[in-house]
Symmetry: C2
Protein backbone atom coordinates (compact mmCIF):
# COMPACT_ATOMS: atom_id res chain seq x y z
CA UNK A 1 0.00 0.00 0.00
CA UNK A 2 1.19 3.51 -0.75
CA UNK A 3 -0.25 7.00 -0.81
CA UNK A 4 -0.33 9.22 -3.88
CA UNK A 5 0.51 12.87 -3.50
CA UNK A 6 0.21 15.57 -6.18
CA UNK A 7 2.93 18.18 -5.76
CA UNK A 8 2.75 20.93 -8.39
CA UNK A 9 1.32 22.17 -11.64
CA UNK A 10 2.87 24.23 -14.39
CA UNK A 11 1.46 27.00 -16.54
CA UNK A 12 2.37 27.09 -20.22
CA UNK A 13 -0.37 29.28 -21.74
CA UNK A 14 2.00 32.05 -22.86
CA UNK A 15 4.30 29.49 -24.40
CA UNK A 16 1.47 28.14 -26.55
CA UNK A 17 0.84 31.63 -27.96
CA UNK A 18 4.55 32.14 -28.72
CA UNK A 19 4.67 28.71 -30.37
CA UNK A 20 1.71 29.51 -32.64
CA UNK A 21 3.38 32.75 -33.72
CA UNK A 22 6.61 30.95 -34.59
CA UNK A 23 4.72 28.21 -36.46
CA UNK A 24 2.93 30.79 -38.62
CA UNK A 25 6.20 32.59 -39.31
CA UNK A 26 7.93 29.39 -40.39
CA UNK A 27 4.97 28.43 -42.61
CA UNK A 28 5.23 31.80 -44.31
CA UNK A 29 8.95 31.21 -44.88
CA UNK A 30 8.22 27.65 -46.10
CA UNK A 31 10.51 26.10 -43.46
CA UNK A 32 9.39 22.68 -42.21
CA UNK A 33 10.43 22.51 -38.57
CA UNK A 34 10.85 19.24 -36.63
CA UNK A 35 11.17 19.07 -32.84
CA UNK A 36 13.22 15.94 -32.02
CA UNK A 37 12.99 14.69 -28.44
CA UNK A 38 14.11 11.74 -26.33
CA UNK A 39 16.04 10.67 -23.21
CA UNK A 40 19.80 11.12 -22.90
CA UNK A 41 21.42 8.46 -25.05
CA UNK A 42 18.23 7.48 -26.90
CA UNK A 43 20.03 8.22 -30.17
CA UNK A 44 18.86 11.70 -31.22
CA UNK A 45 22.14 12.74 -32.86
CA UNK A 46 22.61 9.37 -34.59
CA UNK A 47 19.05 9.52 -35.90
CA UNK A 48 19.62 13.03 -37.24
CA UNK A 49 22.81 11.87 -38.92
CA UNK A 50 20.92 9.12 -40.78
CA UNK A 51 18.05 11.42 -41.78
CA UNK A 52 20.37 14.20 -42.93
CA UNK A 53 22.47 11.84 -45.03
CA UNK A 54 19.29 10.57 -46.70
CA UNK A 55 17.84 14.03 -47.41
CA UNK A 56 20.64 16.56 -47.71
CA UNK A 57 20.74 16.45 -51.51
CA UNK A 58 17.00 17.20 -51.75
CA UNK A 59 16.55 19.81 -49.00
CA UNK A 60 18.52 22.67 -47.50
CA UNK A 61 18.80 21.42 -43.95
CA UNK A 62 19.59 23.26 -40.74
CA UNK A 63 20.02 21.85 -37.23
CA UNK A 64 19.61 23.67 -33.93
CA UNK A 65 21.38 21.66 -31.24
CA UNK A 66 20.06 22.40 -27.76
CA UNK A 67 22.22 21.36 -24.85
CA UNK A 68 22.64 22.27 -21.23
CA UNK A 69 26.16 23.48 -21.82
CA UNK A 70 28.26 21.33 -24.12
CA UNK A 71 28.72 21.37 -27.88
CA UNK A 72 29.45 17.69 -28.54
CA UNK A 73 26.45 17.12 -30.83
CA UNK A 74 26.93 20.32 -32.84
CA UNK A 75 30.45 19.16 -33.60
CA UNK A 76 29.15 15.79 -34.85
CA UNK A 77 26.40 17.31 -36.99
CA UNK A 78 28.54 20.10 -38.45
CA UNK A 79 30.71 17.43 -40.09
CA UNK A 80 27.72 16.43 -42.27
CA UNK A 81 27.95 19.70 -44.18
CA UNK A 82 24.64 21.18 -43.04
CA UNK A 83 24.04 24.46 -41.22
CA UNK A 84 24.28 24.04 -37.43
CA UNK A 85 23.77 26.29 -34.44
CA UNK A 86 24.39 25.33 -30.81
CA UNK A 87 21.87 26.62 -28.27
CA UNK A 88 22.78 26.47 -24.60
CA UNK A 89 19.90 26.38 -22.16
CA UNK A 90 22.05 27.39 -19.18
CA UNK A 91 20.85 24.47 -17.06
CA UNK A 92 17.24 24.36 -18.24
CA UNK A 93 15.95 20.93 -19.17
CA UNK A 94 13.90 21.84 -22.23
CA UNK A 95 13.53 24.43 -24.96
CA UNK A 96 10.47 26.67 -24.93
CA UNK A 97 8.98 28.64 -27.84
CA UNK A 98 10.63 31.90 -26.86
CA UNK A 99 14.11 30.36 -26.62
CA UNK A 100 13.49 28.59 -29.93
CA UNK A 101 12.36 31.78 -31.65
CA UNK A 102 15.50 33.57 -30.48
CA UNK A 103 17.52 30.60 -31.77
CA UNK A 104 15.74 30.82 -35.15
CA UNK A 105 16.44 34.58 -35.35
CA UNK A 106 20.14 34.09 -34.69
CA UNK A 107 20.34 31.05 -36.95
CA UNK A 108 18.88 32.72 -40.03
CA UNK A 109 16.51 30.38 -41.85
CA UNK A 110 16.07 32.26 -45.14
CA UNK A 111 18.17 29.74 -47.05
CA UNK A 112 16.67 26.63 -45.43
CA UNK A 113 13.61 24.46 -46.06
CA UNK A 114 13.98 21.77 -43.39
CA UNK A 115 15.07 22.56 -39.83
CA UNK A 116 15.51 20.18 -36.91
CA UNK A 117 15.69 21.11 -33.25
CA UNK A 118 17.55 18.46 -31.28
CA UNK A 119 15.92 19.14 -27.94
CA UNK A 120 17.61 18.55 -24.58
CA UNK A 121 17.77 14.88 -23.55
CA UNK A 122 14.70 14.55 -21.36
CA UNK A 123 11.39 12.66 -21.61
CA UNK A 124 9.48 15.03 -19.32
CA UNK A 125 9.57 18.82 -19.88
CA UNK A 126 10.21 19.01 -23.63
CA UNK A 127 6.83 17.29 -24.04
CA UNK A 128 5.12 20.19 -22.28
CA UNK A 129 6.61 22.95 -24.37
CA UNK A 130 5.40 23.42 -27.90
CA UNK A 131 8.32 25.07 -29.72
CA UNK A 132 6.35 25.99 -32.83
CA UNK A 133 7.37 22.95 -34.86
CA UNK A 134 5.33 21.46 -37.72
CA UNK A 135 5.80 17.99 -36.22
CA UNK A 136 7.17 16.42 -33.05
CA UNK A 137 9.34 13.33 -33.38
CA UNK A 138 10.27 11.34 -30.30
CA UNK A 139 12.74 8.53 -29.77
CA UNK A 140 12.40 5.77 -27.23
CA UNK A 141 15.33 3.38 -27.19
CA UNK A 142 14.90 -0.32 -26.44
CA UNK A 143 17.18 -0.39 -23.35
CA UNK A 144 14.94 2.21 -21.66
CA UNK A 145 12.17 -0.38 -21.47
CA UNK A 146 8.71 -0.99 -22.92
CA UNK A 147 6.99 0.57 -19.86
CA UNK A 148 8.03 4.15 -20.64
CA UNK A 149 4.67 5.17 -22.19
CA UNK A 150 3.15 4.40 -18.77
CA UNK A 151 5.70 6.52 -16.92
CA UNK A 152 6.12 9.49 -19.26
CA UNK A 153 2.72 9.57 -20.99
CA UNK A 154 2.72 13.18 -22.17
CA UNK A 155 5.70 12.68 -24.50
CA UNK A 156 3.87 9.86 -26.30
CA UNK A 157 0.59 11.80 -26.33
CA UNK A 158 1.95 14.92 -28.04
CA UNK A 159 4.29 13.31 -30.60
CA UNK A 160 3.44 12.74 -34.25
CA UNK A 161 5.85 9.87 -34.53
CA UNK A 162 7.77 7.60 -32.22
CA UNK A 163 11.00 5.88 -33.17
CA UNK A 164 11.86 2.72 -31.29
CA UNK A 165 15.63 2.94 -31.64
CA UNK A 166 18.28 0.25 -30.97
CA UNK A 167 15.67 -2.26 -32.15
CA UNK A 168 18.58 -4.64 -32.89
CA UNK A 169 18.93 -5.13 -29.10
CA UNK A 170 15.28 -6.15 -28.56
CA UNK A 171 16.13 -9.71 -27.54
CA UNK A 172 18.88 -8.70 -25.11
CA UNK A 173 16.59 -6.38 -23.15
CA UNK A 174 13.41 -8.52 -23.30
CA UNK A 175 11.71 -5.54 -24.88
CA UNK A 176 8.10 -6.31 -25.76
CA UNK A 177 7.61 -4.28 -28.95
CA UNK A 178 3.93 -5.17 -29.33
CA UNK A 179 3.15 -4.15 -25.75
CA UNK A 180 5.10 -0.92 -26.16
CA UNK A 181 3.18 -0.09 -29.36
CA UNK A 182 -0.13 -0.81 -27.63
CA UNK A 183 0.76 1.43 -24.70
CA UNK A 184 1.77 4.29 -27.02
CA UNK A 185 -1.31 3.86 -29.27
CA UNK A 186 -3.59 3.86 -26.23
CA UNK A 187 -2.27 7.32 -25.35
CA UNK A 188 -2.19 8.52 -28.93
CA UNK A 189 -4.04 6.46 -31.59
CA UNK A 190 -2.62 8.65 -34.39
CA UNK A 191 1.06 8.21 -33.53
CA UNK A 192 3.19 6.69 -36.32
CA UNK A 193 5.68 4.14 -35.01
CA UNK A 194 9.00 3.22 -36.60
CA UNK A 195 11.29 0.55 -35.16
CA UNK A 196 14.76 1.66 -36.22
CA UNK A 197 18.42 0.97 -35.63
CA UNK A 198 20.92 3.76 -36.10
CA UNK A 199 23.60 1.09 -35.94
CA UNK A 200 22.51 -0.98 -38.97
CA UNK A 201 20.05 1.41 -40.64
CA UNK A 202 16.91 -0.70 -40.10
CA UNK A 203 13.68 1.25 -40.58
CA UNK A 204 15.16 4.48 -41.92
CA UNK A 205 13.78 4.08 -45.46
CA UNK A 206 10.26 3.94 -44.01
CA UNK A 207 10.91 6.83 -41.63
CA UNK A 208 12.43 9.10 -44.27
CA UNK A 209 9.61 8.35 -46.71
CA UNK A 210 7.03 9.15 -43.98
CA UNK A 211 8.84 12.42 -43.26
CA UNK A 212 8.83 13.41 -46.93
CA UNK A 213 5.10 12.71 -47.15
CA UNK A 214 4.56 14.95 -44.11
CA UNK A 215 6.59 17.73 -45.73
CA UNK A 216 4.57 17.48 -48.96
CA UNK A 217 1.23 17.49 -47.10
CA UNK A 218 2.36 20.49 -45.07
CA UNK A 219 3.48 22.41 -48.16
CA UNK A 220 0.10 21.79 -49.77
CA UNK A 221 -1.87 22.73 -46.67
CA UNK B 1 31.16 26.13 -37.71
CA UNK B 2 28.33 26.95 -35.35
CA UNK B 3 27.38 29.69 -32.93
CA UNK B 4 26.83 29.19 -29.23
CA UNK B 5 23.94 30.92 -27.57
CA UNK B 6 23.19 31.00 -23.82
CA UNK B 7 19.43 31.08 -23.26
CA UNK B 8 18.56 31.14 -19.57
CA UNK B 9 19.68 30.75 -15.99
CA UNK B 10 17.88 29.35 -12.98
CA UNK B 11 17.80 30.49 -9.38
CA UNK B 12 17.83 27.87 -6.66
CA UNK B 13 18.97 29.82 -3.59
CA UNK B 14 15.76 29.28 -1.61
CA UNK B 15 15.85 25.61 -2.42
CA UNK B 16 19.31 25.28 -0.89
CA UNK B 17 18.04 26.75 2.38
CA UNK B 18 15.03 24.39 2.45
CA UNK B 19 17.35 21.46 1.70
CA UNK B 20 19.66 22.32 4.61
CA UNK B 21 16.69 22.47 6.98
CA UNK B 22 15.45 19.07 5.87
CA UNK B 23 18.95 17.59 6.12
CA UNK B 24 19.28 18.81 9.75
CA UNK B 25 15.84 17.46 10.60
CA UNK B 26 16.64 14.03 9.16
CA UNK B 27 19.98 13.95 11.02
CA UNK B 28 18.16 14.66 14.27
CA UNK B 29 15.76 11.80 13.51
CA UNK B 30 18.69 9.55 12.55
CA UNK B 31 17.29 8.89 9.08
CA UNK B 32 19.90 8.38 6.36
CA UNK B 33 18.40 9.80 3.17
CA UNK B 34 19.57 8.88 -0.34
CA UNK B 35 18.59 10.81 -3.48
CA UNK B 36 18.68 8.35 -6.40
CA UNK B 37 18.80 9.88 -9.87
CA UNK B 38 19.20 8.83 -13.49
CA UNK B 39 17.66 8.92 -16.97
CA UNK B 40 14.41 7.13 -17.80
CA UNK B 41 15.20 3.44 -18.03
CA UNK B 42 18.68 3.70 -16.45
CA UNK B 43 17.58 1.13 -13.87
CA UNK B 44 16.65 3.14 -10.76
CA UNK B 45 13.86 0.80 -9.62
CA UNK B 46 15.87 -2.34 -10.35
CA UNK B 47 18.83 -0.92 -8.42
CA UNK B 48 16.62 -0.09 -5.46
CA UNK B 49 15.20 -3.61 -5.55
CA UNK B 50 18.71 -5.11 -5.30
CA UNK B 51 19.80 -2.71 -2.51
CA UNK B 52 16.59 -3.23 -0.52
CA UNK B 53 16.83 -7.01 -0.73
CA UNK B 54 20.43 -6.81 0.54
CA UNK B 55 19.65 -4.45 3.44
CA UNK B 56 16.06 -4.90 4.52
CA UNK B 57 16.89 -7.25 7.40
CA UNK B 58 19.37 -4.75 8.86
CA UNK B 59 17.57 -1.43 8.35
CA UNK B 60 14.01 -0.13 8.41
CA UNK B 61 13.76 1.09 4.85
CA UNK B 62 11.34 3.52 3.25
CA UNK B 63 11.08 4.53 -0.40
CA UNK B 64 9.58 7.71 -1.82
CA UNK B 65 8.80 7.13 -5.49
CA UNK B 66 8.61 10.36 -7.47
CA UNK B 67 6.90 10.23 -10.83
CA UNK B 68 5.23 12.60 -13.21
CA UNK B 69 1.91 10.85 -12.83
CA UNK B 70 2.08 7.06 -12.77
CA UNK B 71 2.53 4.60 -9.92
CA UNK B 72 4.29 1.77 -11.73
CA UNK B 73 7.45 1.87 -9.61
CA UNK B 74 5.64 2.19 -6.27
CA UNK B 75 3.77 -1.00 -7.16
CA UNK B 76 7.05 -2.82 -7.86
CA UNK B 77 8.77 -1.61 -4.68
CA UNK B 78 5.77 -2.20 -2.40
CA UNK B 79 6.06 -5.93 -3.16
CA UNK B 80 9.43 -5.97 -1.37
CA UNK B 81 7.74 -5.41 1.98
CA UNK B 82 9.18 -1.97 2.70
CA UNK B 83 7.29 1.26 3.32
CA UNK B 84 6.51 3.11 0.07
CA UNK B 85 4.90 6.40 -0.84
CA UNK B 86 4.18 7.63 -4.35
CA UNK B 87 4.80 11.33 -5.02
CA UNK B 88 3.37 12.86 -8.17
CA UNK B 89 5.09 15.96 -9.48
CA UNK B 90 2.18 16.99 -11.71
CA UNK B 91 4.36 17.31 -14.78
CA UNK B 92 7.49 18.70 -13.12
CA UNK B 93 10.72 17.02 -14.12
CA UNK B 94 12.47 16.96 -10.74
CA UNK B 95 11.83 17.00 -7.01
CA UNK B 96 12.85 20.08 -5.04
CA UNK B 97 13.49 20.34 -1.29
CA UNK B 98 10.05 21.74 -0.50
CA UNK B 99 8.22 18.98 -2.38
CA UNK B 100 10.48 16.42 -0.70
CA UNK B 101 9.85 17.84 2.79
CA UNK B 102 6.11 17.66 2.20
CA UNK B 103 6.57 14.08 1.03
CA UNK B 104 8.59 13.27 4.17
CA UNK B 105 5.86 14.81 6.37
CA UNK B 106 3.12 12.73 4.75
CA UNK B 107 5.29 9.62 4.65
CA UNK B 108 6.10 9.57 8.38
CA UNK B 109 9.74 8.64 8.95
CA UNK B 110 9.71 8.02 12.72
CA UNK B 111 9.99 4.25 12.26
CA UNK B 112 12.64 4.38 9.51
CA UNK B 113 16.42 4.60 9.44
CA UNK B 114 17.15 4.46 5.71
CA UNK B 115 15.05 6.34 3.14
CA UNK B 116 15.48 6.47 -0.63
CA UNK B 117 13.98 9.03 -2.97
CA UNK B 118 13.67 7.61 -6.47
CA UNK B 119 13.78 10.92 -8.31
CA UNK B 120 12.07 11.55 -11.65
CA UNK B 121 13.88 10.03 -14.64
CA UNK B 122 15.98 12.94 -15.86
CA UNK B 123 19.71 13.72 -16.03
CA UNK B 124 19.27 17.50 -15.98
CA UNK B 125 17.09 19.23 -13.36
CA UNK B 126 17.31 16.75 -10.48
CA UNK B 127 21.04 17.57 -10.39
CA UNK B 128 20.26 21.22 -9.70
CA UNK B 129 17.93 20.62 -6.80
CA UNK B 130 19.38 19.54 -3.48
CA UNK B 131 16.54 17.65 -1.77
CA UNK B 132 18.20 17.50 1.66
CA UNK B 133 19.68 14.04 1.22
CA UNK B 134 22.77 12.74 3.04
CA UNK B 135 24.13 11.43 -0.26
CA UNK B 136 23.31 11.59 -3.96
CA UNK B 137 23.54 8.40 -6.00
CA UNK B 138 23.31 8.57 -9.76
CA UNK B 139 22.95 5.86 -12.38
CA UNK B 140 24.29 6.01 -15.90
CA UNK B 141 23.43 2.98 -17.98
CA UNK B 142 25.76 1.62 -20.64
CA UNK B 143 23.34 2.06 -23.60
CA UNK B 144 23.18 5.81 -22.88
CA UNK B 145 26.82 6.13 -23.93
CA UNK B 146 30.18 6.99 -22.39
CA UNK B 147 29.90 10.65 -23.48
CA UNK B 148 27.16 11.55 -21.01
CA UNK B 149 29.50 13.21 -18.45
CA UNK B 150 30.35 15.69 -21.24
CA UNK B 151 26.72 16.44 -22.02
CA UNK B 152 25.14 16.46 -18.54
CA UNK B 153 28.12 17.50 -16.39
CA UNK B 154 26.25 18.81 -13.35
CA UNK B 155 24.76 15.41 -12.48
CA UNK B 156 28.24 13.88 -12.33
CA UNK B 157 29.64 16.87 -10.44
CA UNK B 158 27.12 16.79 -7.58
CA UNK B 159 26.83 13.02 -7.05
CA UNK B 160 28.65 11.06 -4.33
CA UNK B 161 28.53 7.89 -6.34
CA UNK B 162 27.89 6.85 -9.89
CA UNK B 163 26.62 3.43 -10.88
CA UNK B 164 27.40 2.26 -14.40
CA UNK B 165 24.43 -0.05 -14.84
CA UNK B 166 23.82 -2.71 -17.52
CA UNK B 167 27.59 -3.27 -17.50
CA UNK B 168 26.92 -6.74 -18.96
CA UNK B 169 26.08 -4.99 -22.27
CA UNK B 170 29.38 -3.07 -22.48
CA UNK B 171 30.61 -4.94 -25.55
CA UNK B 172 27.34 -4.58 -27.47
CA UNK B 173 27.32 -0.81 -27.12
CA UNK B 174 31.09 -0.20 -27.56
CA UNK B 175 30.98 1.54 -24.19
CA UNK B 176 34.43 2.74 -23.14
CA UNK B 177 34.32 2.27 -19.37
CA UNK B 178 37.77 3.76 -18.76
CA UNK B 179 36.98 6.87 -20.78
CA UNK B 180 33.65 7.27 -19.01
CA UNK B 181 35.35 6.97 -15.61
CA UNK B 182 37.95 9.56 -16.62
CA UNK B 183 35.28 11.98 -17.80
CA UNK B 184 33.33 11.61 -14.54
CA UNK B 185 36.47 11.88 -12.36
CA UNK B 186 37.55 15.00 -14.22
CA UNK B 187 34.28 16.66 -13.18
CA UNK B 188 34.31 15.18 -9.70
CA UNK B 189 37.54 13.58 -8.43
CA UNK B 190 35.77 12.30 -5.27
CA UNK B 191 33.01 10.38 -7.02
CA UNK B 192 32.87 6.65 -6.21
CA UNK B 193 32.17 4.55 -9.28
CA UNK B 194 30.51 1.12 -9.33
CA UNK B 195 30.01 -0.87 -12.53
CA UNK B 196 26.88 -2.93 -11.83
CA UNK B 197 24.34 -5.14 -13.51
CA UNK B 198 20.84 -5.33 -12.05
CA UNK B 199 20.30 -8.29 -14.36
CA UNK B 200 23.03 -10.57 -12.97
CA UNK B 201 23.92 -8.80 -9.69
CA UNK B 202 27.47 -7.78 -10.66
CA UNK B 203 28.93 -5.08 -8.41
CA UNK B 204 26.16 -4.93 -5.81
CA UNK B 205 28.26 -6.43 -2.98
CA UNK B 206 30.73 -3.56 -3.40
CA UNK B 207 28.00 -0.95 -3.71
CA UNK B 208 26.06 -2.13 -0.67
CA UNK B 209 29.22 -2.32 1.42
CA UNK B 210 30.14 1.25 0.35
CA UNK B 211 26.64 2.41 1.28
CA UNK B 212 26.88 0.81 4.74
CA UNK B 213 30.24 2.52 5.33
CA UNK B 214 28.64 5.84 4.39
CA UNK B 215 25.77 5.25 6.82
CA UNK B 216 28.20 4.41 9.66
CA UNK B 217 30.37 7.48 8.98
CA UNK B 218 27.26 9.67 8.88
CA UNK B 219 25.95 8.25 12.15
CA UNK B 220 29.30 8.97 13.81
CA UNK B 221 29.55 12.48 12.38
Amino acid sequence: MYKIYETKERVTADNDKEAEKLRSYLKEKNVFFVNLMGSPGAGKTSTLTRIINALKDKYNIGVMEADVDSSVDAETISKLGVKVIQLHSGGLCHMDADMTRRGVDMFGIEDLDLVFLENIGNLVCPAEFDVGSAIRMMILSVPEGDDKPLKYPLMFTVSDCMLINKIDTKEIFDFNEELCRERAKKLNPDISIFPVSCKDGTGFDELVSWLETKITEWRNS
